[in-house]
């Protein structure tokens, strides 16, 4: 390989123009998760976590978590009243809706990311890895062309007679992919640094954490051979998640493996947001032409069924 060839690979990876469909679909899925957090998990408890009479006082957070250093926190700008925090929560929900439907997409993502950042700094003790991941990819999504497709923004453009945006440099989408690979890299390295994952007992203990039980699966959780097989499967697929996922020939196999891993965990272990934050991000690895083909087929099938339903009635 020559140095020039290496540069060509680098440029192709980050800058070769590509259709925005995968990142636009990811914007919708990201928005759904944000709405889930804002409405279901925070809901009426927003003020209890972040308001003026919250479980943790701001002075204690600044002293013991921020260590008296500056942190970004928009909530500090609000009047310290219950009403102001309720209004902010409402704005957060409205912007999350805007993000999902793709209205002022980039600004919506930016606002949502800054809100996540503020909430995580205001109370860092109620977030799981899924929340942290959404925060980590937020700035890259805001910098991407996530509003170019499947969005109110694109409808407005069409209505105004403006041309459809063509393929664009996907560097922000690539950064989201790299961020996901970094997650698998670190978690894999940490797992093989312990003993449970190497002796095959990790899934046994994971399925017995009673604060995380979701749906029962005794066929798996009470079978030592299956527990061990899943232990090794987890290690193999997480290794693939930052290595062979980058190769065209193996990418989709890895995506299917990771999808099964996260879906399996989500079935047995109750960690809302966590698994779906990773599952949804796998979408960014789907090649635009494949995604557009699938979406075209889905559209065609749904139109056909609507027509059939119309004919019956």
């Amino acid at each position: 390989m020559t140095f020039a060839a290496l540069i060509a690979v680098w440029r192709k990876f980050w800058f070769e123009p590509q259709d925005a469909s995968p990142v636009a679909l990811y914007r919708i899925l990201y928005g759904i998760l944000i709405l889930q957090i804002a409405v279901v998990h925070l809901g009426e408890n927003f003020s209890q976590w972040y308001g003026p009479n919250a479980v943790m006082t701001l002075s204690a957070v600044i002293k013991h978590f921020w260590l008296n250093e500056p942190r970004f926190d928009m909530l500090l700008l609000l009047p310290q009243t219950e009403g102001a925090f309720a209004a902010f929560h409402l704005v957060f929900v409205m912007v999350a809706v805007a993000l999902t439907v793709g209205f002022c997409s980039r600004y919506s993502v930016l606002f949502v990311w800054l809100t996540l950042l503020s909430m995580h700094h205001h109370d860092p003790f109620n977030i799981n890895g899924g929340d942290a991941f959404l925060r980590a990819v937020g700035p890259w999504l805001a910098l991407s062309h996530c509003g170019d497709k499947f969005s109110v923004d694109s409808l407005i453009r069409r209505k105004k007679g403006l041309p459809e945006p063509g393929p664009s440099a996907p560097w922000a989408q690539r950064m989201i992919q790299v961020q996901l690979a970094i997650v698998y890299w670190q978690t894999f390295c940490c797992k093989i640094g312990g003993t449970q994952w190497l002796d095959g007992s990790a899934i046994y203990y994971a399925t017995r954490l009673d604060d995380m039980f979701r749906f029962p699966a005794p066929i798996i959780s009470n079978n030592i051979y299956l527990l061990k097989a899943l232990n090794w499967f987890t290690l193999v697929i997480e290794f693939a998640g930052w290595t062979v996922i980058w190769f065209k020939e193996s990418c989709y196999y890895v995506l299917i493996g990771l999808f099964c891993l996260h879906l399996g965990i989500d079935y047995m272990i109750n960690l809302p947001v966590f698994e779906w934050a990773f599952i949804f991000t796998l979408v960014t690895f789907i090649r635009p032409e494949d995604l557009n083909y699938v979406l075209h087929r889905v559209k065609k099938l749904s139109l056909k069924s609507v027509r059939n339903a119309g004919a019956i009635t």
């Binding site: 998990h41 995580h120 978690t187 954490l209 029962p216």
Partner: protein, 194 residues
């Protein structure tokens, strides 16, 4: 004008962005590296910037070890007349599916943070919060104790003919440890008390 035109050149734009990617990935991967003097020194120049913008990250998901105990926390409020009130944090295995889903933030906080030493600086806040919530001006809370109830998960014994204990036969949390005790002051019951 000349500078703007220079920046707009594709090669310059790509070069600038590439530099940002390399720098960002270098510091992010360094941030995630195992604890060492080299790591500490490497991330020092960007540490405050990363913390300010929430770029710090950690993905030790279910690793390196999965905990081998099950537990839950309870706060016991003792009122002036001697009566006691048990305030149990939401216990996921006793809730229906929807509430388990809905109350994830309470699970995360009450299981992974509240009873552990990393949270100890916030225990007085917690005590005052609970005190205000259950305050009765005619019979005010006098003290709060935060208790951790726990039990070890039976060990997986691969040499035994029945190596594992079924999920449905996990032992109850019968061991107890009082992790924090707080005696209330009159000022604690005012809204927004610090």
């Amino acid at each position: 004008m000349a500078l703007t035109n220079f920046i707009r050149k594709p090669q310059v734009k790509e070069g600038g962005l590439s530099l940002i990617f390399v720098v960002f990935l270098f510091f992010t991967i360094s941030w995630l590296a195992p604890e060492s003097t080299l790591r500490t020194n490497t991330i020092e120049p960007v540490k405050q910037f990363y913390l300010f913008w929430g770029l710090d990250q950690n993905w030790k998901l279910f690793s390196p070890e999965i905990r081998k105990i099950n537990f839950h926390t309870e706060a016991i409020l003792t009122f002036a007349d001697g009566n006691r009130l048990i305030v149990e944090m939401p216990r996921m295995n006793r809730l229906n599916y929807w509430d388990r889903f809905r109350l994830e933030k309470f699970r995360k906080w009450s299981v992974d943070s509240l009873p552990w030493p990393d949270y100890k600086e916030f225990w007085p806040d917690f005590a005052r919060y609970i005190g205000r919530k259950y305050n009765n001006n005619n019979n005010q809370p006098q003290s709060l104790s935060l208790n951790l109830y726990y039990i070890e998960i039976p060990t997986l014994d691969l040499n035994h003919p029945h190596p594992l204990v079924p999920v449905t036969e996990m032992p109850p949390h019968t061991k107890i440890n009082t992790v924090f005790f707080y005696r209330y002051q009159p000022a604690d019951f005012k809204s927004g008390a610090l």
